[in-house]
């Protein structure tokens, strides 16, 4: 069917205008080149980005390889569920200590050296602030868009792909790893049934029904956008910013109308049965994670999403999950993490479980989907991360990041790269954007941490 294009609306605050308004340095706006195919591999297949966040750090002895170069025959305990994709794995290590070479410098800059529970806003943005930071306010917010948002925006503006962004969660806390703009987080969808319906329902509509729905929504969104513009006129500066966020969302929805009902590659929606599970019940958590991994995999394979974040768990330092299905009915994850080396046994089992239940599940599904001479996984970058170095330490340096998938051959995988010194996560994020095709980006987040890690990770 033919999708209906929206006309220009009266919106005054485009996303790019919003980004400028909200402080994204002009030097870091992705260059909007039209000469190259956006987000596509050299063979023309789309590149995808999927990030996965888990809380409470990792246990270094069970996580890092002891040397750089080719991966050992037996991976570190936590990462062993990824053994089938060892050749597609890229690990990072520090030369002088058992830890990650990636620091979250912007958290240190706001005085939160041990604020590991609050790094989610920094992990994918490299730019944070703490409003009222001189008072005892733990709130940390991002000041620039996260890389998933940047990639989705780039695809929307330069490749006509308006539905790239997808943010999901299982037990998120008050924060998010995905941010639309300064102070505006992207709320993850935590209900797998709704997520499924949003992504895969509606295909049963006739062309006429779909056209009528698109026309109706366009009329309403035009009206809402116009009313928001007028409403914002006399508001104070902070309140106006809130309305600008709302307007940017309305504009994004308008642009997505163009792709509604357009044909998508043949794909098989995942099963999300049984229906009606209560995900507050801890024993349903494994199913919850599997549902999300399977839906994300299907969405990526079907072309329904290309920039995805998955916040599997965050606890803000309070009560957390238990893991009775791996014989850890108590204490909760946060309490175990706090025991540090005294209980690396249980903590590593938990960490490994996340790699098994989510990362390996995702890899399995993506690697089973052929794409040219390779698979969807080959054209994807999966970035797995935690919010702190280690569970008892809460340190925002030595943040564990793991890469799976080469992004269409961008990364040289199947190895560990040793770094002689610590580097800011901004540089890793810049390289991730390069991997998905945004090669003109010179930095992500705080401009003082510009630069990339391309040479280390691609050669």
């Amino acid at each position: 069917m033919t999708a209906i294009r929206t006309s220009k609306t009266q919106l005054k605050f485009s996303r790019r205008a919003l980004l400028k308004t909200l402080g994204l340095g002009a030097g870091f706006l992705p260059l909007l080149s039209t000469e190259r195919a956006r987000g596509a591999t050299s063979t023309g297949y789309p590149r995808r980005l999927i990030t996965i966040a888990v809380t409470d750090g990792i246990c270094p002895p069970d996580f890092y390889t002891s040397a750089g170069g080719a991966l050992p025959a037996t991976l570190p305990f936590t990462l062993q569920p990824l053994a089938p994709w060892s050749s597609k794995l890229l690990l990072l290590r520090q030369a002088n200590s058992q830890g990650s070479p990636i620091d979250c410098n912007v958290m240190m800059d706001i005085g939160a050296k041990y604020g590991g529970h609050f790094t989610y806003p920094a992990l994918l943005t490299g730019a944070v602030t703490s409003p009222n930071g001189t008072d005892s306010v733990p709130t940390v917010t991002a000041t620039q868009p996260s890389i998933d948002q940047q990639y989705a925006d780039d695809l929307a503006q330069n490749a006509g792909v308006s539905n790239a962004l997808l943010n999901v969660g299982c037990r998120p806390y008050a924060s998010s790893t995905s941010w639309a703009a300064n102070g505006v987080k992207n709320t993850p969808q935590t209900d797998p049934y709704k997520l499924f319906n949003n992504l895969f329902a509606g295909s049963s509509m006739t062309a006429a029904q779909m056209n009528a729905l698109i026309a109706r929504r366009k009329s309403v969104l035009d009206f809402v956008g116009g009313e928001l513009n007028k409403f914002a006129t006399n508001l104070g500066t902070d309140d106006k910013t809130k309305v600008q966020s709302h307007l940017a969302a309305i504009q994004s929805m308008e642009s997505q109308l163009q792709s509604m009902g357009s044909s998508t590659p043949a794909c098989t929606p995942p099963g999300v049965t049984p229906a009606g599970l209560n995900f507050n019940t801890i024993t349903n958590y494994p199913t919850h994670v599997t549902f999300m991994a399977d839906i994300v995999a299907a969405a990526v394979i079907c072309g329904q999403a290309r920039a995805v974040t998955m916040d599997l768990i965050d606890n803000g330092g309070g009560n957390s999950l238990t893991f009775p299905w791996i014989d850890i009915p108590s204490p909760d994850m946060h309490a175990i993490a706090h025991q540090g080396t005294a209980n690396y046994d249980q903590k590593s089992q938990i960490d490994r479980w996340f790699y098994q239940q989510c990362v390996a599940e995702l890899c399995s599904k993506l690697d089973a989907a052929a794409e040219g001479s390779g698979t969807v996984l080959d054209n994807t970058v999966i970035l797995v991360m935690s919010d702190m170095s280690e569970g008892a330490e809460h340190y925002v340096g030595r943040i564990p990041y793991v890469i799976v998938g080469s992004g269409g051959g961008f990364f040289k995988t199947g190895r560990t790269v040793t770094f002689p010194s610590q580097v800011p996560n901004n540089k890793l994020l810049t390289t991730i954007l390069h991997a998905v095709g945004m090669t003109s980006v010179t930095g992500v987040g705080d401009p003082k941490y510009s630069g990339d890690l391309d040479s280390a990770l691609t050669t």
Binding site: Y114, F118, T134, S136, H246, A249, S252, G317, D332, H334
Partner: protein, 556 residues
């Protein structure tokens, strides 16, 4: 009237929230003006705190469409919702965030669903029945004024009316909808418009200034009253009072406050306050060790939260007694919850009136809901329980822990919970803050992780004695029963309680500009001991009726 418990705001930077088993900084306690972030400017420079723009909360949205459309089909997850930030020193209540893509999409799908449902009962929403096509435009105009005034909760401006009229015409022409279809589209659009989504129910006409402050207009006060006391839109009587200009007069305002407090909807508000204040609203997501607590499941969690909410609302709608709230034993429980309390003779899933053993229970803080949400997965938690009392009833703040604080030992045979935490407190690194919290939390050692009463812990006798800094001096107590009596009689706790209600009503931290309003509300409670007088004083306070203009705002 006791002296205020307000001191200069702390100026420090702390970030972690891992207070569990890990708080430790010397000199770590203190009371602050308002709380983290502050709410108002320095005293005297604005004479009123700010009124940041905010959207309807999920609860407010659902209640509003219930009253506007008679629709109760949606759930909190269907509309923009709030997450409860349980970080150390975070705002005590859920706060609505910014409308981003996820929230805007939810607003769209919710509006589409509500409009679809409304299509079947448009005759009850329309003020007219057009006799022919010529009368349809006129009827649409009447609908825009009448329904729009309710949906936006104030009279529509001329531009808004014109925009809605234009949308009606678009519906009839471009979209080829019939009259009913166009009306339905108007409903769908209005439910996504800022007039419905945001609390900014400005009155027509110029702003009324009072020095540096702005007096809220009649419709703004009507909405503030309605969403504070009822959690929903104004009813016809409140709209009428606003239209008559009665809400900017002391008598008119007081008449509405008293009428609204007597309405059953006020009970729901009180339940929501207590549920949110002590975080019992997150009870259902708390895991418990099934080997220790095999009875823990979603049904029991729901029963606990239902009881907790009922207990809180009954305190407001029943005796109104603050003392009863903190020391009463009259409640209602179903069979599963009766087993937790050891109450005999209750069967079925429906709550039945019950009196708890006054030798074991004393008020809200000894209910299973509070004790479970502040319990650990594998036992009691003096830290969490002490922290809740410290921050929510004393309005004190604690800094977050430094790096690498060791946790208390896990449950150990031959060592009571108290002994484990006392060992932990002897650690120089942890002692300073835990010495403030744990001796309060020890008072609840008679209750395990689900709030079941116990006399032994690890086969050793429970020692529930402790101490708490109240009203400038250290008070000792033998157990939770004695502790709750101390709390109920403390001017510091009463003033903190007034402050928490002010925060709940204003949806922001209180600041220096709110000091007089907080003191007036506390005085009302201390004079009569009646919660209703406290709530009425908050609603009548200057902080409730005035605001500071926002930086950059253009006042009409």
């Amino acid at each position: 009237m006791p002296g205020p418990v307000i001191a200069a705001a702390h100026k420090r930077r702390v970030f972690g929230a891992a207070w569990l088993g890990a708080l430790a900084l010397a000199g770590c306690t203190g009371q602050i003006a308002g709380g983290p972030g502050g709410g108002g400017g320095a005293a005297g420079d604005s004479k009123a705190g700010p009124m940041p723009l905010r959207r309807l909360t999920a609860r407010e949205y659902l209640n509003t469409v219930r009253d506007l459309l008679g629709d109760t089909t949606l759930h909190p997850g269907d509309v923009p919702n709030e997450s409860d930030d349980l970080s150390n020193n975070a705002f005590p209540f859920r706060q609505p965030g910014v409308v981003g893509s996820f929230e805007a999409a939810n607003l769209q799908s919710a509006a589409e669903s509500l409009a679809k449902n409304a299509a079947g009962k448009l005759s009850s929403l329309l003020p007219c029945t057009p006799s022919g096509s010529a009368a349809e435009s006129d009827c649409a105009n009447q609908f825009i004024a009448s329904f729009g005034g309710k949906a936006y909760r104030r009279p529509l401006g001329a531009t808004e009316t014109a925009d809605l009229t234009a949308l009606y015409q678009t519906a009839r022409t471009t979209l080829s909808l019939d009259f009913n279809g166009a009306i339905d589209l108007l409903i769908e659009a209005m439910l996504q418009a800022p007039g419905f989504v945001y609390h900014w129910e400005m009155d027509p006409g110029p702003a009324v200034k009072d020095g540096g402050a702005v007096q809220l207009g009649n419709y703004q006060i009507a909405n503030r009253l309605s969403y504070f006391l009822w959690g929903t839109m104004p009813d016809p009587a409140l709209f009428a009072a606003a239209a008559a200009g009665q809400l900017t007069t002391a008598d008119g305002l007081q008449a509405q406050i008293q009428r609204m407090l007597a309405d059953p909807k006020a009970a729901d508000m009180a339940a929501d306050f207590f549920d949110d204040w002590l975080d019992v609203n997150v009870l259902a997501s708390r895991p418990k060790d099934p080997t220790l607590y095999p009875m823990w499941n979603q049904d029991l969690a729901a029963a606990m939260e239902t009881e907790f909410r009922s207990f809180g609302s009954a305190a407001l709608t029943g005796s109104g007694s603050f003392a009863d709230l903190l020391t009463g034993t009259s409640t209602s429980v179903n069979q599963a919850l009766a087993a937790v309390y050891g109450v005999a003779g209750v069967t079925g899933t429906t709550p039945k009136p019950a009196t708890l053993d006054p030798g074991q229970r004393s008020g809200l803080l000894t209910l299973a809901g509070f004790l479970t949400v502040t319990g650990a997965t594998d036992g009691s938690s003096p830290v969490r329980r002490g922290h809740a009392i410290y921050t929510r009833l004393l309005c004190d703040v604690l800094p977050d822990p430094p790096n690498n604080v060791p946790p208390p030992q896990p449950p150990t045979p031959g060592l009571t919970t108290r002994q484990r935490f006392e060992q932990h407190d002897q650690n120089a690194c942890t002692g300073a803050c835990h010495s403030a919290m744990d001796p309060i939390g020890f008072g609840f050692e008679h209750y395990d992780g689900l709030g079941v009463y116990r006399t032994t812990d690890q086969d050793l006798p429970v020692d529930a004695s402790g101490q708490i800094p109240l009203d400038g001096k250290m008070q000792t107590f033998s157990d939770a029963l004695a502790l709750t009596r101390l709390l109920a009689a403390s001017p510091q706790v009463q003033t903190c309680f007034a402050r928490q209600w002010m925060r709940y009503a204003l949806d922001r931290w209180d600041g220096d500009a709110d000091l007089a309003s907080v003191q007036a509300a506390a005085a009302a409670l201390q004079t009569s001991g009646d919660l209703r007088d406290l709530v009425a004083a908050v609603a009548a306070s200057r902080s409730f009726r005035y605001r500071a203009p926002a930086p950059g705002e253009v006042l009409p």
